[in-house]
Symmetry: C2
Subunit: 330 residues, 2 copies
């Protein structure tokens, strides 16, 4: 690959002059510009971003630490984040974090010298928070938050839990189960809290199923619920992905949705709208996607010169979308 030195030699100028042409500096002779541009074309020159990053001490790239794409929620958010970052001239390094080993990913990311991090896989009491804070790299949490605050965009999960549960209660279901993920995630924590709140005192421990969010675990949870003396007639699944697993498994077992079991999810993934699915779900009311808040604020943090940066703490209001996976108890 041709370097700026090669271009310089061919154009009969010095390397800094080539650099100036590349970066559109003023104060460079028009004829010189043309000479250099010609040489660049002839040599098929492309600036080496690695070298540039080293010199400038910034990479114009951010890291996205996302949940696995098996959950369609992260599909949309990943697309949003990558595209918004790109529109601002930033490249995104995408990491798909499976359960738990945040430390390893975090180590990886730091070595890459990214200018900032969007983090969606963090636990409420994750020690990684302190380390990130200490590293001085700007970071924004997305969808989940940490107990210590910081920058985040989230949905009001507790209110969402209340909305979903109340919806099912209002349809006449008194036996409503909760299936979710680890409650050391702020999302599941909040959604469970809302569920309990809506139910008031009458919460039964074995109606609450905390899984690892995999399809197998969800199926297992459903089986356990069905085996109860008093099986529930409605399920609030804490994500649409889990709701779909419930729905498919129950249908395969001959259950009709919603006649034999009402289901409410959360996230409003695109598939939920499919005519054969029609999943009742909870989403947020904001006019732009959550990921966009995250990236925009992250870039603000990166490019702000102020020593003390203001926090962004956005909690979006939830909204219920009633479709046909939930119905009146018969």
């Amino acid at each position: 690959m041709a370097s700026s030195k090669d271009v310089a030699k061919r154009a009969g100028v010095s390397q800094p002059t080539v650099s100036r042409v590349i970066n559109g500096s003023t104060n460079v002779n028009k004829e010189t510009i043309e000479k250099v541009q010609r040489a660049m074309e002839e040599l098929n020159y492309r600036p080496n971003l690695i070298a540039r990053s080293l010199k400038q001490q910034k990479t114009k790239s951010i890291a996205l630490i996302s949940g696995a794409l098996h959950n369609p929620f992260f599909v949309d958010s990943t697309t949003t984040i990558v595209n918004v970052a790109k529109a601002h001239g930033y490249r995104t390094l995408v990491y798909f974090e499976e359960q738990g080993n945040n430390e390893a990913v975090y180590e990886e990311v730091l070595k890459q010298q990214v200018d900032g991090i969007v983090l969606s896989s963090i636990f409420i009491d994750d020690p990684v928070y302190r380390e990130l804070e200490h590293s001085k790299i700007p970071f924004v949490m997305f969808n989940r938050r940490h107990q210590l605050g910081g920058n985040f965009v989230e949905i009001d999960n507790e209110k969402a839990g209340v909305l979903a549960t109340n919806h099912l209660l209002e349809l006449g279901h008194s036996k409503v189960a909760w299936i979710g993920g680890p409650t050391n995630c702020s999302t599941f924590h909040g959604r469970l809290l809302g569920y309990k709140k809506a139910l008031g005192g009458i919460v039964k421990g074995n109606w609450i199923k905390e899984t690892n969010t995999t399809e197998e675990a969800v199926i297992d949870a459903v089986d356990q619920l069905l085996a109860l003396d008093e099986p529930p007639t409605a399920i609030f699944a804490a994500t649409d992905a889990m709701a779909l697993s419930c729905q498919s498994y129950l249908m395969n077992k001959g259950y009709r949705i919603p006649e034999d079991m009402s289901i409410c999810g959360m996230d409003d993934i695109p598939m939920s709208r499919h005519a054969a699915i029609q999943l009742t779900t909870v989403t947020h009311e904001a006019s732009k996607p959550m990921g966009q808040y995250a990236v925009e604020h992250l870039l603000h943090l990166i490019n702000s010169s102020k020593e003390v940066k203001e926090d962004m703490q956005v909690t979006l209001r939830p909204r219920l979308i009633a479709r046909h996976s939930s119905g009146v108890k018969n």
Copy 2:
């Protein structure tokens, strides 16, 4: 951020010695190693991969130019490719290529100094092929191929088209439509060819709908088919994503699947198995995902010292999975 120089100073050694410790060189005193490691910990040192890349003239990273994630097919392949690369110590830069502007993405990628490229968004006669060849960067095409050959993994799309169409014919459907994407993609090209082949002479031009693969375009195509004097009773949609769009739209219009319309897709995305969807589809027979072939061969190309590298041209055999979105014509 502390540099290896800082570590060297603190440990009372030279910078190259720190470098040796980092890279596990032999011939370095045990006590020195310990001194250096202690200094690294105390300073919270992390090697700067940008600097390393510049020096070594390789980035240990590959680019994946994928179709947009709205198509679930690319969700799975992206996951596979990122994870396999990671398992081999390579980082993946992910690009989501919308229709057509391959050139721009390609320019971007070259500047990043990646060691290799997995390319899934390429047209049969894409000029980008020549440029990539000229750039000397190893690249492997994934899912789609180019007319000039090169390295690729694909499904036998023509045979897949035959399989799908024959399946519908065997169910008694004589009026089978095709809905697909741009036929300058090898995938759609082949699938259409197979469709025509299976139908023999009796192909009607207005049963063939070439769209841009968006939901709106697919809906439009379905509308056009329904408006025909002789509307088809079965549709072969060239991807599952498009098949789902057909299915949802038709159901919303009151059609029953498969009683009023049989649908066959292709790709076997996870959603196709959902009890409420039950999409008949075509997939491949291989024991490992296509993306894995692509990455493994790409890494082979990158690390092979031979001047002349052998091509990898894999065409996987297709297999029909009959579910309940297709049925006997009534």
